[in-house]
Amino acid sequence: MGSAAILRVEVERGLADRVPAALTPKIRQAPELFATGLADVDAMLNGGIPRGCITELSGNPSSGRTCFALSAIGSITRSGAACAWIDVSDALSPDSAAAAGIQLNRLLWLRMTSKGNANHSTKEKSLSNLDQSIKAADLLLQAGGFAAIVLDMSDVQAQHASRIPLSHWYRFRLAAELARTALIVLTQSSCTSSCASLVLRCESPITETFSRNGETALFSHRQYVLTRERNRNEGPSVPFKKPSSRAEWDANTAWCGVR
């Protein structure tokens, strides 16, 4: 036994009354995963998004963030669990949600509203909605019982989202862990800092031209691209093959098959 190991044992023995195994790293169990319903994405994420953690998904408009979140929530509600959708911009389309396979009666939809003066600027309304959404997320996580919660800040400008204090995200991470809830945050640019266990980035999608002689159906085979920027739940062992950090999936519109 090396001198460092002996020293560690001595220190731990001295602190055993107050802090058991003070210098021994805590054994982390692999978190339970929720399948997203997108085969390629699940393969890239080793099974899906982690439960009890924050998953952040950032990207530009029309990059597939909502499509990804709806697919994941659809997969979770079909398994019988309840989910919540905190809609900061009141932009969720129930038609799209139903088309994505979400069991709507298992989905709690919270639509933020701008109270007060109707003459408030867009910025003031956005900040007011953001404030409400943070409070709502806090209440939902404290109450527990929801398998997944989506905090949809897709339309909130990056400079507004970055104003959310880091302490909120730390609190959400702890609450999500205790409640065993997957908190999915949709943003334009990353704002959860180190609190997110899984950080994904939606790249610009590849769109097939739809006005080519009218032969291609509108928005058929729209290919979304997802890049994994961080996954804190990957195993410590050195893999034989470098895991892929990029996944693509095709998405159609509901009317594509009706030609």
Binding site: A35, G37, A39, N60, P61, S62, S63, G64, T66, C67, S71, S75, R78, S79, G80, A81, A82, D90, A91, L92, S93, P94, D95, S96, A98, A100, G101, L104, N105, R106, L107, L108, W109, L110, R111, M112, T113, Q132, K135, A136, L139, L140, A143, G144, G145, F146, A147, S154, S204, T207, F210, S211, L218, F219, R222, W249, A251, N252, T253, A254
Partner: protein
């Protein structure tokens, strides 16, 4: 031992009590819908003049002295309540005798400590009834039916010692037994007119001639027909009420919570005694300006938990505060069987019902009533039509392998649609100004004309375009629409 109080001609007594001027007059009560009204009841003076039950209005009107009044059910109910209250003062076990209006039977077994004997009890009971403005016969017997027959047949108070029921019944006419018309005709033909004469017949021969009813009538005439008493119990639901008056007006709701907590506790104790839970709470606040302010708190599931109910009431009152100071409180509860759910180790995660109620109430307070719930698609031609229903997730089922669905491009809706500026090239858009950004239209498809409600004033119509927009490196695929009525362009939403 039973005491039966019977107010003869109860309907006329009830009418005379509510309209004292009728006491000195001959009057008849008519029942039924005009013009087919018939005499339902008449007082003694009217009957002496010749009025009979079942007469038509025209026949009664031929008696000039007789006053005609419609039957008042409310008066009878009120009179019956008075008699009920008096009966409750003499025995905790009372039963209403359906056969005769206003007639109550009291179980007076064991009342000897309060009243010296049965005769004294019967006399006091009759005096109390007379003091309330009614005339009633009171009969005491150890057999229920004997007491009822004696009360109907004998005026005043009649007390029959135990074992002498047959002798007491012997002189009573047969109609006190409540005979059917055929039975009455048969006995009349046989020459049997009193209960004593019927009791003297052999039981078997009576049964052989008129069937099994003969056995019952024979036992009734001898005073031996048994009866299973079903005492009236006060309505449990009506008793779930708590009220309190405050010494001085209170404006701060928090200071009422202590009182509300105590009242809720008291209601829950009563509900739990019957193995029930509280399904609804009606909070009535008596305000300083002499008005009543009511709020109804209805948890999704019946609860047996004071803190949860209290929190729900607090959140509701904070959302809808009264307009004046509070001087009194009433709490009315409705009970229901408590919610029972079968839990399982392998069931998916679901919110706990009690906590979910409070969570939803808090969210409603934060966001507003209509902003919290589950979306439900409506059968409407209008795109993205939906309504929000209360969030009540169904019972979780054991997890099955969730089948993957083909991914579909989602649509993000602009609520309300935002005005945009669109430059056209020919008939189709080629430049869009939205949120201070200038977008070039890379691709365009449309227009798709959608309209509806053209038959009403709520008609709507628009030409929708699906466009791929590009500004610097930012690209978005959106749906824009032109409203021909307002001649304006709107951003409908973005595909994401």
């Amino acid at each position: 031992m039973y005491a039966v109080l019977h107010p003869p001609n109860f309907s006329t007594q009830a009418a005379a009590k509510s309209q004292p001027e009728l006491r000195r007059l001959p009057f008849a009560l008519l029942d039924g819908e005009a013009p087919f009204e018939r005499v339902y009841a008449a007082n003694k003076a009217a009957r002496l003049l010749g009025v009979e039950i079942g007469m038509t209005r025209l026949q009664v009107e031929s008696f000039a002295e007789v006053v005609i009044r419609p039957r008042a059910i409310d008066d009878e109910t009120s009179a019956q309540l008075s008699l009920h209250e008096i009966a409750c003062q003499f025995s905790p076990r009372i039963e209403y005798v359906d056969r005769y209006s206003g007639t109550y039977a009291l179980d007076i077994q064991g009342m000897g400590r309060l009243f010296a004997d049965s005769a004294q009890l019967a006399n006091k009971l009759r005096h109390r009834i007379m003091a309330a403005g009614f005339v009633a016969n009171v009969a005491v017997a150890s057999n229920f039916h004997t007491a009822v027959c004696l009360a109907c047949a004998h005026q005043g108070v009649s007390v029959t010692p135990s074992g002498e029921e047959a002798a007491a019944m012997a002189g009573l006419p047969l109609h006190v037994l409540g005979l059917e018309p055929e039975q009455e005709a048969t006995f009349s033909m046989w020459g049997i007119r009193t209960c004593g004469e019927l009791a003297a017949r052999e039981e078997k021969s009576l049964i052989a001639r008129i069937g099994q009813p003969g056995r019952r009538l024979h036992a009734l005439a001898r005073g031996t027909w048994s009866h299973l008493m079903l005492p009236m119990e006060p309505s449990f639901e009506a008793g779930l009420v708590e009220h309190i008056e405050l010494d001085f007006p209170v404006e701060i709701l928090e200071s009422l919570l202590f009182v509300l907590s105590r009242m809720t506790d008291a209601l829950l104790v009563r509900a739990k005694e019957k193995a029930r839970a509280i399904a609804l709470l009606r909070v009535v606040l008596l305000l300083d300006d002499k008005t009543r302010y009511e709020r109804i708190v209805r948890p999704a599931l019946p609860l047996q938990d004071t803190p949860t109910l209290l929190k729900l009431m607090q959140l509701d009152l904070e959302m809808h505060p009264p307009q004046a100071a509070i001087v009194g409180l009433e709490l009315h509860a409705q009970s229901a069987p408590p919610h029972r759910a079968q839990h399982g180790l392998f069931l998916p995660q679901a919110p706990e019902p009690g906590r979910l109620e409070i969570l939803l109430a808090r969210l409603r307070k934060l966001l507003g009533e209509e902003r919290v719930g589950s979306p439900e698609l409506t059968d409407d031609h209008r795109p993205n039509a939906f309504r929000v229903v209360p969030f009540q997730p169904p019972v979780p089922l054991p997890a099955k392998g969730a089948l993957g669905k083909e991914a579909l491009t989602a649509f993000r809706v602009c609520r309300p649609p935002q005005g945009i500026t669109v430059m056209l090239q020919g008939d189709s858009p080629f430049r869009v100004f939205y949120e201070g950004q200038r977008y070039s239209v890379l691709e365009v498809a449309g227009p798709w004309r959608v309209n509806g409600q053209w038959w009403s004033k709520d008609k709507w119509s628009r030409d929708e375009w699906d466009v791929r927009l590009c500004a610097d490196s930012l690209e978005r695929v959106s749906r824009i629409a032109f409203d021909p009525r307002t001649q304006r362009w709107y951003m409908q939403g973005t595909y994401d």
